[in-house]
């Protein structure tokens, strides 16, 4: 009787070889078929299995990436009948000499810095608080994770209501009970970016917390025990044990959040639309306006997308170097 059981890696390999051999020696009708099957080596089968993925990857990722790189050197509108016209580096030159691009880049940088820094502090803090188990800690952890599971546009919609100076709950909670003097979070140029940062921190700090919790739970207790025996205080233990041990995972969280912050689009569109004026216009919002919104400047927007990509790769490289140093240390 055949009893299914979970196979180990070695067993799987043996089984696959065994099945291939059986397929080869099995008597089949027709003279040419066994010869054809014998040609299917393990490597060929592996390639055959990988091939659909490679084809999909080329079609869905590699080709659009290369094609959009080509488009970025052309004057082209996707809704026009006219074919792309090669303009060389003109699109890149125009973008890099346009002050509105530098403005939106500055806005994005400011947003990323504020948002990621606060998420790191809040997320790490929450992880430290939830590190030790207590009654209801599982439920609280789950509830804290809820924001990051919501759709950004839903989050933006209800935070718009929360921020509303007429009937939103935030201002009364902060003690602003006079509607005439209470802050207009989304309409005030000095507050609008902060409003988006607050929502982003609320939404994504749980992600940082989750990774930090994983890092914290992997720290062996004996390190703290040894430190306690040596009468190391809390701060020393945090600085010399907790932080270095969590650092690799914390850096991964920070890397992901920085990349996401540089691509921030949905929360901005949902909350302020880039306004007032262009105070909260991130690069992604500018890219959207250039690529769609009646402009459909596909060549220029592709060039801008590549500039953003290069910046994100550069920042990611810095993080990865730091990550490697942390791991090496």
């Amino acid at each position: 009787m055949f009893r299914p059981h979970l196979l180990g890696a070695g067993e799987t390999q043996i089984l696959s070889r065994c099945c291939v051999s059986q397929a080869v020696i099995q008597p089949v009708s027709g003279a040419s078929q066994p010869v054809a099957r014998r040609q299917l080596s393990d490597a060929t089968i592996v390639r055959l299995f990988i091939l659909p993925t490679i084809i999909l990857l080329i079609l869905m990722n590699i080709f659009p990436l290369i094609y959009s790189l080509f488009i970025s050197f052309t004057e082209y509108s996707v809704i026009s009948d006219a074919p792309p016209v090669w303009v060389g580096l003109q699109n890149y030159q125009r973008i890099l000499s346009d002050p509105t691009f530098w403005h939106s880049f500055a806005v994005t940088g400011r947003f990323a810095l504020l948002s990621v820094a606060l998420q790191t502090v809040v997320g790490f803090g929450l992880a430290l608080l939830l590190r030790s188990k207590f009654t209801g800690s599982g439920l609280i952890t789950t509830l804290i994770l809820v924001p990051m599971m919501l759709s950004p546009i839903v989050v933006a919609t209800f935070w718009k209501l929360i921020f509303n100076p007429s009937y939103g709950i935030l201002n009364p909670l902060l003690g602003f009970n006079n509607i005439n003097t209470s802050p207009e979070w989304l309409g005030d140029p000095n507050l609008a970016l902060w409003a988006i940062v607050i929502v982003d921190v609320w939404m994504w700090s749980p992600f940082v917390m989750l990774l930090c919790l994983a890092g914290l739970s992997a720290i062996p207790d004996y390190l703290y025990e040894a430190a306690s025996i040596d009468r190391a205080n809390w701060w020393f233990q945090f600085r010399r044990i907790t932080l270095p041990q969590v650092m690799p995972l914390l850096l991964i969280a920070v890397l992901f959040r920085t990349i996401e912050a540089f691509k921030q689009f949905d929360l901005v569109m949902g909350l302020t639309g880039g306004g007032p004026g262009d105070v909260t216009e991130t690069v992604s919002v500018q890219l959207y306006q250039l690529a769609f919104q009646g402009q459909f400047n596909t060549g220029m927007s592709s060039a801008l997308a590549y500039i953003v990509l290069v910046v994100i790769i550069a920042i990611s490289n810095l993080y990865i170097r730091a990550l490697n140093r942390a791991r090496g240390g």
């Binding site: 809704i79 009948d81 939103g168 306004g275 007032p276 306006q289």
Partner: protein, 441 residues
């Protein structure tokens, strides 16, 4: 061999029959794309009559406004046939015509006398391109423009009337000038009571704040460019600066939190009792006339745009015209034209108006029946005689982005001086038009 020949002959006959049947087969289904809103639902109801009369089913496919243009543009790019007709925004026409997405309807509309049945302004802005060319690409379908809704109970309250007259020196009534509207807005702004004078468009996402501002801008003598596409000294004049200052002042009489507001927020302000007057497209007024939605429906009045300091009077145009997709087969084009011919009939237009659609048919607009259908129809019929639109050249998207950004920064963000804002706007628009080749540097 004989059997083979027989088989070949049989196959040839079958192929011929199939071919004949395909050619003879009538179009049984047509698809119209429109944005997701009430008028599209009314059209969906109306086309049932067409199915009854002709046996041709017409599907009205709706897409949310936010992604409507993107979806249509993607279909244009693919030269797709997902729709036979599209009810397109007035601003799209330049792009669609120059890039060959719309069928030329000039001959069809002239020979069937359709051009004589609709109001000249709607024919010009929804159907004609280039302006004044006499070439038509769309049948004016949903005439729409900005108008005002106001609280009659406040305006006709004797105490309020007396207080207003004492404060401003003239009686409280429906404003006929922008100066009066400003005074009334100021008068009804009572922050302690949670009541504000007006609700005005401020949304930055697409075209809302521009549409709202245009009502003042055009009436103060402004324009986006002259006949030679010159913007300098046309966009930025002392009068247009005054118009911008007035619009910012109106925003200061609007409820807090309306920093990114469009049609939905306008109706909300009114229904919540926060605003004495709101601007909105007429297409959104049916909700205000509905007592199950608006508690003030019985006390709600409607009026058309007031005039500027020199007597000029304009309302920002909304609305759309129906165009035929140039990429569909000739059979489907003919079937689409047949549908448009039916839709343009006076009795169908009357039914369209009765359902809630805003007809552009002159006879229907002037009929007592139409004026009596809804409380806002009289204001609508009057408004459709002085509408004016934003640019509809293919570069309208770039021009619109400039206006939206600068207006929002000044009106909502309070950044800069009105004169500098108008100067910047004119210069940036000029750069776009120079680059596009409309004017030489």
């Amino acid at each position: 061999m004989k059997k083979f020949s027989l088989l070949l002959a049989l196959m040839a006959v079958l192929a011929l029959m199939t071919g004949i049947s395909v050619r003879a087969q009538d179009v049984t289904e047509l698809t119209i794309w429109w944005a997701e809103w009430d008028p599209a639902n009314y059209l969906d109801q109306l086309v049932d009559d067409y199915a009854t009369e002709t046996g041709i089913t017409v599907n009205v496919v709706q897409t949310p406004w936010g992604s409507y243009f993107d979806r249509v543009a993607a279909e244009w790019a693919a030269q797709g046939t997902a729709f036979d007709m599209v009810v397109g925004d007035s601003q799209w026409i330049g792009q669609a015509v120059t890039q060959g997405h719309y069928v030329d309807l000039t001959e069809f509309m002239n020979s069937n006398g359709i051009t004589e049945t609709v109001t000249p302004a709607t024919l010009q802005y929804y159907g004609e391109y280039p302006a004044g060319s006499g070439s038509y690409y769309a049948y004016p379908t949903e005439g729409d423009a900005n108008g005002w809704a106001y609280r009659k109970d406040l305006f006709e309250n004797p105490d309020e009337m007396a207080a207003f007259e004492a404060a401003y020196g003239y009686p409280l009534a429906v404003p006929t000038t922008w100066a009066q509207l400003r005074d009334i807005a100021e008068f009804f702004t009572r922050e302690d009571e949670g009541l504000y004078g007006v609700g005005v468009y401020t949304q930055i996402d697409y075209d809302a704040i521009t549409m709202g501002f245009q009502n003042v801008f055009f009436s103060f003598g402004g324009d986006w460019y002259d006949e030679t596409f010159n913007t300098l000294g046309v966009v930025n004049t002392p009068d247009t600066v005054a118009a911008l200052e007035l619009y910012q002042e109106l925003y200061s009489f609007a409820p807090p939190g309306t920093n990114n507001a469009f049609f939905a927020e306008m109706n909300d302000l009114f229904i919540n009792g926060q605003a004495a007057m709101i601007m909105n497209y007429f297409a959104f007024f049916p909700a205000l006339a509905n007592p199950s939605i608006n508690p003030f429906s019985e006390q709600t009045g409607y009026f058309s745009m007031p005039e500027g300091p020199t007597g000029l009077r304009y309302a920002a145009l909304g609305g759309q015209g129906t165009s035929v997709n140039s990429y569909i087969s000739d059979e489907r084009k003919q079937a689409s034209l047949d549908f448009l011919l039916w839709f343009a009939r006076e009795d169908v237009q009357l039914k369209w108006a009765q359902l809630g659609g805003y007809t552009c048919n002159i006879a229907v607009l002037e009929s007592e029946e139409f004026l009596a259908v809804a409380p806002y129809n009289a204001a609508f019929a009057e408004t459709m005689t002085f509408v004016k639109d934003f640019s509809n050249i293919p570069e309208f998207g770039s021009l619109l982005e400039i206006v939206q950004r600068n207006l929002h920064a000044f009106v909502v963000g309070g950044e800069g001086e009105a004169t500098a804002v108008m100067d910047t706007m004119a210069a940036e628009m000029d750069a776009v038009l120079v680059e596009a080749g409309y004017i030489s540097e």
